[in-house]
């Protein structure tokens, strides 16, 4: 079955799993906020699950510390395919304030290299920047991953010559 077809099933009932890879906890609080009755993510069928085996979407926070690395790999391995990851917060997007430090991998982009080495395939990744990311942005990122909304920004990097 093609990825798009498999994602269509997940679209109607995305079960999310919250995975902290060493964040400062502010992004995690925002995730919990996004799942409270105020934002009512259950409107889209979202359900917070406690086991990675039940998850469709992993709400990923933190820059991946070296200490957490093996556990995070193991957890993502436990998620059945198709695996979707929403990397939340500047730390998860590119290392954030921990960029280039000795004790972190430096965000999900770099971490994907490690995952590839371990044979863990990630089917779709969406990045939600912010320090911390706002609950509205988290829900938007989730809907983007599920294909409910279109991506607004392009991936073009512009370098300004001085």
């Amino acid at each position: 079955m093609k990825l798009e077809e498999r994602l269509r099933g997940v679209r109607r009932s995305p079960w999310v799993y919250h995975l902290n890879s060493g964040s400062c906890n502010a992004c995690d609080i925002e995730i919990l906020d996004a799942l409270t009755p105020f934002f009512d993510a259950e409107r889209f069928g979202v359900k917070l699950v406690a086991s990675p085996r039940h998850a469709d979407v992993v709400l990923f926070t933190g820059p991946v510390t070296r200490e957490a690395l093996p556990k995070v790999v193991k957890t993502l391995k436990a998620v059945p395919r198709p695996r979707i990851v929403v990397a939340i917060g500047s730390c998860a997007v590119g290392g954030g304030i921990w960029w280039n430090t000795y004790s972190t991998i430096g965000g999900f982009e770099k971490f994907q290299g490690v995952l590839k080495q371990q044979g863990v395939e990630i089917d779709k990744v969406v990045y939600v920047p912010g320090c911390p990311a706002r609950p509205e942005a988290i829900i938007y990122g989730l809907l983007l991953a599920l294909g409910y909304v279109k991506q607004k920004v392009s991936k073009v990097v512009k370098v300004v010559e001085s």
Binding site: M1, R6, G9, V10, R12, S13, W15, P37, D40, E42, R43, F44, G45, K47, L48, V49, A50, S51, R53, H54, D56, A78, P80, R81, P82
Partner: protein, 290 residues
């Protein structure tokens, strides 16, 4: 009754159980000032969408034995619900009642076996809790149900039996605070921790059907208490009352959402023992009066 109607009546629970669950979610959302699953389709079919999605997911199998037990659990719950529907059509047949009670106990035994067959420490904790809750109610439930369905007793005893049956139905349906075997964030889904994809869907479907069985039994015992059970019309009323009972149980679970889960089972055991004691007292009075 012709075969088409019989097939229709036995098929009803398999189709409507996830729909009732979706409606329960919507009602719970309304109580919590939320919208809940959005739109007409989601309001009625969200649990079906969940099951369909789980069936399409990858299956990560940790043991073949667990897969077999999960399938057998669904099989026995399905047999129980079919017998229950036959009982609704022919409530005067006593062997159907005996069969119903036997299969009710077999299907709950299978859910206990599934719980202990998982090789995971969190699952073991959940299984232990499931044993505790089941031991606190199962015996009382089956015996009170058997007495209620087989013997005509005075109203006071009937009322006490109904209280035991209602309490047991609530507890066995795995709603708050008696979902401690699962206890989501605390022990990472406990007895469900290793289940994934189609296997999780099978277990969830078994739970929906089990909830249907309990809601229908509770509806029937309510009619029995009022004294209108046993007719074709009463069977129809039971079928119509089942979703209402299901939702009432869901509403009670919202009301009990803030109770302490750790004292739940022991409080339940105390309440059960008090009810049994009251029933014995009532029985002695009735015998003396006769």
């Amino acid at each position: 009754m012709d075969y088409t109607s019989l097939a229709l009546i036995t098929a009803i629970p398999f189709l409507v159980a996830p729909i009732y669950d979706s409606i329960e979610r919507k009602v719970k959302a309304a109580i919590q000032s939320r919208i809940g699953p959005l739109g007409l389709a989601r309001s009625f079919l969200q649990s079906w969408f969940d099951l369909i999605k789980l069936f399409s997911k990858e299956l990560v199998l940790t043991s073949y034995g667990m897969a077999l037990i999960t399938i057998l659990e669904l099989l026995f719950v399905s047999i129980t619900v079919v017998i229950l529907q036959i009982f609704l059509i022919t409530p005067q047949l006593e062997w159907v009642i005996a069969l119903l009670i036997t299969f009710l106990s077999i299907s709950s035994a299978f859910s206990l076996i599934r719980a202990i067959s998982l090789d995971n420490p969190f699952s073991s904790i959940g299984a232990f809790r499931e044993f505790y809750v089941t031991l606190a109610v199962e015996g009382f439930f089956l015996s009170s149900l058997a007495i209620m369905l087989l013997v005509e007793e005075p109203i006071i005893i009937k009322m006490l039996l109904f209280c035991i049956a209602a309490l047991s139905c609530y507890v066995l349906s795995g709603r708050t605070p008696f979902d401690i075997a699962e206890a989501e964030p605390e022990i990472a889904s406990g007895v469900y921790i290793e289940l994934s994809g189609p296997l999780l869907a099978t277990t969830s479907y078994s739970l929906h059907i089990r909830r249907y069985v309990l809601a229908e039994i509770l509806s029937y015992t309510l009619l029995k208490l009022i004294g209108i059970a046993g007719t074709g019309f009463a069977s129809l009323i039971t079928l119509l009352l089942t979703p209402i009972t299901w939702i009432v149980l869901g509403v009670v679970s919202v009301m009990l959402g803030r109770t302490r889960v750790d004292v739940g089972p022991i409080t339940l055991l105390k309440v059960m023992l008090i009810l049994i004691f009251l029933m014995f007292v009532a029985m002695i009075f009735v015998v003396r009066l006769v």
